[in-house]
Symmetry: C2
Subunit: 326 residues, 2 copies
Amino acid sequence: MLALTFKNNTLALDPHHPEPTLPPGEALIRPTLLGVCSTDIELCKGYMNFNGILGHEFVGIVQAVANPADSHWLSKRVVGTINCPAKACDFTARGIPEHARSRTVLGILNRNGCFADRFTLPVANLLHVPDSLPDEKAVFTEPLAAAFEILTQVTIQPTDKVTILGDGRLGLLCAQVLATKSNHVQVVGKHDKKLALARSWGLKTTHLANFTPQQDQDFVVDATASDSGFPTALAATRPRGTIILKTTVATRPDAPPINLAPIVINELTVIGSRCGPFQTALDALNHPLSPIRVTDLISLTLPLSQAVEALSLAKSKDNLKILLKP
Amino acid sequence: MLALTFKNNTLALDPHHPEPTLPPGEALIRPTLLGVCSTDIELCKGYMNFNGILGHEFVGIVQAVANPADSHWLSKRVVGTINCPAKACDFTARGIPEHARSRTVLGILNRNGCFADRFTLPVANLLHVPDSLPDEKAVFTEPLAAAFEILTQVTIQPTDKVTILGDGRLGLLCAQVLATKSNHVQVVGKHDKKLALARSWGLKTTHLANFTPQQDQDFVVDATASDSGFPTALAATRPRGTIILKTTVATRPDAPPINLAPIVINELTVIGSRCGPFQTALDALNHPLSPIRVTDLISLTLPLSQAVEALSLAKSKDNLKILLKP
């Protein structure tokens, strides 16, 4: 089968990748639409020391299940959460299986991803996609859930000042989600076209060149995927305010030192925010009155056979979401 | 008068420092006992670009007040909070005057400190010291309040696992305070004598050489005043656990890069914690059944005339609290 692999520091399209085997409790899925995420790009820089098939954003059709008791999933259109708990541990006992010590993560940690003709995922990770929700929206479930995760971690009031640093894919999703709570959301970015898109949704935007941090924001989301984001967030957040770290960056050995003293002096709270509630995201995508616009983010849809180019295009700052069609 | 100054990168005892003038709303205080803090040492490394008289831990006697309406403070024994709000601003309006943009901070920011025969502080900052509380305990009010600040920021349960990184002055105070909430407090440090002191209070201790971070702590307090503290805290805290940053470090330009990715991957919360509730600390110091032992921390009391040596001794890892007697 066709698959996009990152192995031995090399990104390559493999037209003859072996078919996946179906482990107990899992489903074989034929993806119908795939999303390229910045994490895929970071993985190709060495983040997580990943080796295998890339990809963790998908919508697809269940083609087989290992356990006959799961056969009601057959032919169902699904999305799926990406953390796969393995053995029980202190974290699963604590009710956070998504952080299980021995977990695998689709296309990120010790598990092949979905950028392939077929892949497997535990049935427990699957969510049914309503018929009314087209693939072009459903494929955003994973990143939109990650944006909604913020609302499970902090309480944002209508009067709170919220700044999203970064006008990329995830930044714009976070901005839309947080704008459902606060009337004072601004997006700070470097790309006129992306900022214009945010303005078309009614959001305030500021070009980074004109942004002077003033320690006056109640919440600052760092969605820059850049090591310049955090120092800017420190300077923009009010005392006792909250910084939400949404993007991970492969640490460069020559990265400038980070001064953590402002966290103490200003008694800031810094919260890491990762994967989020899929059902909430699906509901938001499917609600006829939802203000969340995801299809506006689609820059291009390419066949899976052009996946290497797709990752390269996703790196370009001119593009937002690049989709892949197997 | 005698004063310990840090000016133009030079620490010096000034036997002929001009007497302070008494601004409106302030009290002239004759300190009777002073405490040396790690922040004093950091200031002498360039932290905050401080120039002036050092010192912010004191107990003393009010000798004069600028406003006759404040004359009930005369001859009273007092301690005092160190943040002095000046002009109203968005932070004072928000109810956090201790973070006011134009604030001064005793011996830290744009205000002479208390390592002198006399100094001034706004009357609004003063708290009366009960007669039953000796100077040797009252002088710990400021650092003990800083330890109690943690309990205003997080809720710690008896079953929570709590690790204090750092067996210094502040680390041991934090350990004692958090042990009033959790039954699983351990102190991790490098100094046998200090760890033995913690054990004498019934706390568990682990020598840093034998400490293997296992991502299993609900709360980790970084009280190391070292840039090695934060990476250790990241490795010791469980997913969705909390790191409390208690000490500030003057950033070294050659400091190793900090990898913030674990904050996101493990969805950690990092909270900066600074000054705390003085009345709570005074009450704890004065309560006959209080488990908090502060006088155990006193390594040495020197006359103010030996303040330069006192700061040097406070740097030595063999010592805990060094007091100064004017």
